[in-house]
């Protein structure tokens, strides 16, 4: 009897132990440690000095941080306004039953997301080259007035990054939309058609409400992904440690990486990380509230 009680009290903990150990070691403790670090100045993890709220105070007046915030916001807004319509547009196109070679086009549009960010950065750094790049070369051949030394990567930093990210991600999100579009009941569309609804009205009042959960999910994924924007500018502008000309490519995560892993100040990097976390949690809560309101 006693033995059985012991079993019943320990059994749940035994089953939970693998998760609790992993969560504690790799999520909870690092989070607590980084919160503690955000009140210290460090040179690596061993040399530390307690500075209280100084990291957060400096962050408020740090022009680099605000440049990074501005660039990240700009990229996020552009990503939402460009990537989602592009992905949805491709999905609508490839969802048409009368389109020949649909499977081929699906593969073509999805393929870039398989190659990964490092390759995208290399490919686009070559495409955007001043005199020898494919984009300037083609434009100069088609329109001789086009400057073959047009400085894409030097002066059009954000459009170049958005274009590269669009090429990489549009096909990926297209797959989500395609799956969602295939769940839209054809009876509803047929009924709307019989009622005289135009193509736009059918899209606006039938398709969009039906795919809204996926649309919301993708919006959240794009926003969170954009706030974690790092690899592409870091690789495209490696010479300036990811900052790009006039710091126009500097993102929050790039700044966090530079501060923590290049300068060794894990304390200030942790402060940046916590601010980023609060922003992301806030956005997620906002998105949840909006979704709830729409559902209600």
């Amino acid at each position: 009897m006693k033995n059985s009680r012991l079993h019943s009290s320990w059994t749940p903990w035994l089953f939970l132990a693998p998760f609790l150990l992993t969560f504690g070691a790799f999520i909870a403790w690092p989070a607590v440690r980084s919160l503690m670090l955000s009140f210290e100045q460090t040179f690596g993890p061993r040399t530390t000095a307690f500075v209280g709220l100084a990291n957060f105070r400096f962050l408020i007046h740090d022009p680099y941080f605000w440049t990074a915030v501005w660039n990240t916001l700009l990229f996020t807004i552009a990503a939402v306004l460009v990537q989602i319509p592009a992905a949805l547009g491709l999905a609508l196109l490839l969802n048409r039953s009368d389109l020949r070679g649909r499977r081929f086009f699906r593969l073509v549009f999805f393929a870039p997301s398989v190659v990964g960010l490092a390759f995208v950065a290399i490919i686009f750094s070559m495409l955007f080259e001043k005199r020898t790049g494919l984009i300037n070369g083609t434009l100069h051949s088609l329109f001789p007035a086009w400057d073959p030394d047009f400085p894409w990567l030097d002066q059009y930093v954000m459009p170049s990054l958005i274009l590269a990210q669009l090429w990489l991600s549009a096909g990926f999100y297209m797959v989500y939309f395609l799956a969602a579009l295939q769940t839209v009941p054809s009876e509803l569309l047929d009924a709307a058609n019989i009622d005289g609804a135009s193509a736009w009205q059918r899209f606006r009042h039938v398709t969009v409400p039906e795919i809204r959960p996926v649309l919301n999910l993708i919006t959240l994924l794009v926003v969170i992904g954009s706030f974690q924007f790092f690899e592409l500018p870091y690789l495209l502008y490696h010479e300036t440690y990811g900052n790009g000309p006039e710091n126009k490519a500097l993102s929050i995560v790039t700044y966090l990486y530079q501060t923590g892993f290049r300068s060794g100040d894990l304390g200030y990097a942790s402060a940046i990380g916590w601010v980023l976390t609060l922003v992301l949690v806030g956005l997620a809560l906002l998105q949840r509230q909006l979704t709830k309101r729409e559902e209600a």
Partner: protein, 456 residues
């Protein structure tokens, strides 16, 4: 108890516990002797030759040479310094990596302080003095210098001579751009220039430091205080922006390496490029078909009688504090870096001249180099070596470089926006931008409590 879990779960548990115990009990085999990490293939080839001799003569302290990529080396080195994970006994560190090493308190720098040893063994006077400066922080030297890296101007001799231009008349940058101006032409009839006089652009972050140091400016003073807004820097960026902007700009950039760069060099897209000694080695390797088309000359000065060279890049060899064989590591470091064999091979393989003054007399530096139209390239670089500018090694070097470059790009935007393309007209805005950069850098540096505590 046995019945509490299924047999499958017991097997998984036993495997997990058994393998963990096995791993914990496995003896860690320390690698015999010393480890050396470096990031450059040519350096590794030479180090391997000298290490083979060393290992024959010192069987109790053998050294093994490991080639890593620059990023991997930096990450592993800093992880080791930060958290006591294993690092090599000897590490070659490149100029752009060293700021991170020096960012904390002097006592926490992961390399041994070599200042006393260099003085005691009378080695310091035998090495080109400016070559120590990047490896010195707060008065302490942490590495043996590998090189001098004086900078000359490499130019397309075939094109310049075909145009009948006599480069011996060039003393200043103004002379250079004036005399070579006829070479800036539209080759394909599209109304656009297809040939520029200098390989540089507003984003050429490394070249800007070369030109700044040549002019006598710099981002930090000897005590590592930021000097971004000093008067000479203002003049330099105003002048540079006149090279990059306006309808008659004279500079454009060839990308670093790759097929695109090779094509542009072959086409003569740029006539001249800033060439530290190592570029003579890399260009011979990447463009063997261009032999006999390039020549070298001292850099044109900023004003008459001014400095005709500068410096770019650099490498040091440091001995880590974690080394279990510090004396053997020091002996090997000297055997490698002071060796005439290394000096000869380094010059032959990579075009790099030695910082060891005793090696400068070697006759191989005087041999004509066919690739550069028979010029005695080594001697030309060595003649400039004593005049190479010093470079303070601030931990905030990368940030200073970024801010300086940002100011140049902002000034270019200002020039284009206001159609101001003359040096004098650009000076007020140049001063304002550098004042702002100076303020930002001071703010960053002032919050580093470790540097403040170590300040002399």
């Amino acid at each position: 108890m046995l019945k509490m879990f299924s047999p499958g779960l017991w097997i998984v548990l036993l495997l997990a516990v058994g393998s963990s115990v096995l791993v914990a009990l496995l003896p860690v085999q320390p690698r015999p002797g010393m480890q050396m990490w470096l990031f450059d293939l040519n350096h590794a080839k030479i180090a391997n030759v000298i290490a083979a001799d060393w290992n024959r003569d010192h069987p109790n302290d053998p050294v093994s040479v490991n080639l890593l990529t620059g990023d991997a080396l930096q990450t592993r080195m800093m992880s080791g310094f930060y958290s006591n994970t294993p690092v090599a006994d000897l590490i070659e560190v490149e100029r752009t990596m060293v700021g991170q090493v020096f960012a904390g308190p002097v006592k926490d720098v992961g390399f041994m302080d070599l200042t006393g040893r260099l003085e005691k063994e009378n080695l310091r006077a035998g090495i080109n003095e400016p070559s120590f400066s990047p490896w010195t922080t707060r008065g302490h030297i942490f590495g043996l210098p590998h090189d001098v890296h004086p900078v000359m101007l490499m130019y397309r001799a075939d094109l310049v001579e075909a145009a009948g231009i006599d480069v011996s008349k060039i003393e200043t940058w103004a002379d250079y751009f004036r005399l070579l101006r006829p070479l800036m032409v539209d080759l394909d009839g599209d109304g656009r220039i297809d040939r520029y006089l200098l390989n540089a652009s507003p984003t050429s972050i490394y070249y800007h430091e070369v030109l700044l140091l040549q002019a006598g400016g710099g981002m930090f003073d000897e005590a590592n205080h930021p000097t971004l807004n000093q008067a000479i820097n203002v003049e330099v960026i105003a002048r540079l922006v006149t090279w990059y902007t306006g309808p008659t700009h004279v500079a454009s950039e060839v990308p670093v390496g790759g097929a695109a760069a090779a094509r542009l060099y072959r086409e003569g897209y740029v006539i001249g490029l800033l060439a530290p000694d190592f570029v003579t080695g890399s260009i011979r390797e990447s463009l063997p078909d261009m032999a006999g088309k390039f020549k070298l000359m001292p850099l044109p000065a900023w004003e008459h009688g001014g400095r005709r060279t500068s410096v770019l890049g650099g490498t040091m060899l440091g001995i880590t504090k974690a080394s279990a064989h510090p004396e053997a590591a020091w002996a090997f470091a000297k055997a490698l870096y002071l060796s005439p064999v290394m000096a000869k091979r380094l010059y032959e393989v990579a075009g790099i001249v030695s910082p060891i003054k005793a090696n400068w007399k070697a006759s191989f530096y005087d041999a004509p180099v066919p690739y550069f139209c028979g010029q005695p390239v080594g001697r030309m670089y060595l003649n400039l070596a004593p005049d190479v500018p010093r470079r303070p090694s601030s931990p905030y070097y990368a940030q200073g470089q970024q801010l300086f470059n940002t100011a140049i790009m902002q000034l270019c935007s200002y020039a284009d926006e206001h159609k101001v393309y003359d040096e004098q007209g650009l000076m007020p805005e140049a001063r304002r931008l550098l004042d702002q950069a100076q303020h930002e850098l001071e703010q960053q540096m002032n919050r580093n409590t470790f540097l403040q505590a170590d300040a002399p």
